[in-house]
Symmetry: C2
Subunit: 405 residues, 2 copies
Amino acid sequence: MGLIVQKFGGTSVADIDKIKNVAKRVSKTYTQGNDVVVILSAMAGVTDGLIQMASQISERPVKREMDVLLATGEQTTAALLAMTLESMKYPAQSLLGFQAEVKTDCAFGNARILDIGAGRIKELIDKKKIVVIAGFQGCDADGNITTLGRGGSDTSAVAIAAALKADVCEIYTDVDGVYTTDPNICSKARKLSRVAYDEMLEMASLGAKVLQIRSVEFAKKYNVPVHVRSSFTEEEGTMVVNEDNDMERLMVSGITCSKNDARILVKGVPDQPGIAAKVLTPISDAGIVVDMIIQSSPKNGTNDIAFTVPRTEFKAAMEIEERVAKEIGAKCVQGDEGIAKISVVGVGMKSHAGVAATMFRTLAAENINIRMISTSEIHISCVIVEKYAELAVRSLHTAFGLDKI
Amino acid sequence: MGLIVQKFGGTSVADIDKIKNVAKRVSKTYTQGNDVVVILSAMAGVTDGLIQMASQISERPVKREMDVLLATGEQTTAALLAMTLESMKYPAQSLLGFQAEVKTDCAFGNARILDIGAGRIKELIDKKKIVVIAGFQGCDADGNITTLGRGGSDTSAVAIAAALKADVCEIYTDVDGVYTTDPNICSKARKLSRVAYDEMLEMASLGAKVLQIRSVEFAKKYNVPVHVRSSFTEEEGTMVVNEDNDMERLMVSGITCSKNDARILVKGVPDQPGIAAKVLTPISDAGIVVDMIIQSSPKNGTNDIAFTVPRTEFKAAMEIEERVAKEIGAKCVQGDEGIAKISVVGVGMKSHAGVAATMFRTLAAENINIRMISTSEIHISCVIVEKYAELAVRSLHTAFGLDKI
């Protein structure tokens, strides 16, 4: 018996029958004597439908109103689930973001949770109610509705679990756990029974779509055990927890693949101090996040600077760099949207040598050229031509001994 | 130049193109130098769709959650219109019920507005923003979302206009004003240029669907001039205002027809003091509103008691009366769903004799039997067999000189 936070994603609440299934699962946990707090996403497809509707009005709808619009999705599912539980004679009550006191900054569309005043939630728990909270939404200091960005319901769930000091935060989704890589790309992908917060962080930031990265940051910061599992089976999923000794036995825990980036190459940049800042500051000023950056060694007094940006921002970034190139007297700007970023991730890397070498050798054996490389303590990423992405993932999966037996 | 509240109904915001039209109209009023506050309904059909969804969960979904669900309809249109205005470069901001401080009691599904703390609205007006408010919704003292019942956006609009001391509250709808009767029934129906609050109140309560009755009560109480007009034309509609001398020239201003009632007749009730209370108290205890009540003169120590209830409550009311009849020793209970209530309304009745006589004579000339009669200072209603309803309306319309020339 304990306090359990359960989060259900969009595919788990896609229609009334699925919502009834969620109600069964929630009520089972409740009947076992647990306090239960449920966080919900919008029905699958609803958020996209709302975005599509707004796009008929404006290419760039004003963000404050976009959040008011999008928040209806989670409001709908929260009401429907509370209603379903009540119709099954379980005491339940929905709370919207502002009612659950999910306080955020005012970065509409991508707000950060600042604080959760868990008073009202606790009050309802004390009354033995199942509390059903609309995920993805909060409100700022002025009472405006905010949303937390794609996958934000994960963050809602973990943050609320942290605020309530819940025993576990269960993330129910349409996959049954965290895999060594995307099973759609590699049929030999294995489900991990445990994964460290840091590994999960890297995987999330490198393209694995299981959990929103901020939710993992929250989980790590407040030490919330997160259980990623399927809403369609009873099977155990993957526990995301603090690093432990067992985990280090494996060099690499997972392979990720992201096709969300584009590469921009500014050629013939004069080799002067501060020139990289001149190339990159206008990009960040435009609110575009740069991921990897490579500066070549100077040659004939000039450098090449290459960097990656989200593919959605590629056009905007190219326009900026073409202007910048003229101003600083660079030779030319080349862009490439057809890239993929393949990464190997594992806390085991800290104590195993040769991971990079194995990675480069494996890609070379498949005749795959590496265009950019970046590393951290627990990951190595390579940018390659997009069409080789799946081959690279499968080869690395085998090379690092991750294949299912 | 002044402060104008504009309310748009569901058909006026039924799709993105219609919302763009609303934005044009709103921005025109704003460009003329007025402060503008807009109140919106949900897109036509959306509320019914949500009700249908809830009905898949439960025949009687818990009301608190129903309100959370229904409130998404107006939230959506408010966000979309604010977004549209912003994309046209007009400063706009949406407010939900709780943000606009629409404070209600906690009668979920049919809440009454207790107070509107217009602070936030005024703040935005002072910043020259067009304020777009989600109608139909408010929140109770505990911060729960409430809704105001069918047509509640009218009430939102008038109550907000009253709180802001607006110069006029314009109700944009799919008809171009208040008619002497339903033009779908009587092709000779005329648009009224002015109608008194009291007449409008009677018409609304007697079946005219133009305005929610509570909105007229608010308008009368706070003396808010209401302008009912079409969102699809530029024509003037009908002003709902204080009674003036002009209005009294006409005996009758309108004919209404309601098919929303059913009649229950309890026959052979023992003629004892307090027996009517015994018959009717169980009905009101069940939350069913009784409209007309007729008690016959006693004959052989027994009475007949007839009354009408909303047709939606007919079955429940019949069950109650069959039980009551046994308890009090009444002879039998008869029910009839096939009735219509035809009413003539007019403040002119106060100073004109013979309205009732004209009404009865007109119906008699068409061989229409009157089953029940009720009257007030400014209306007379007759219950007749449903199939004669349209004929009765047309005959009375001619008899009272209301036909279009």
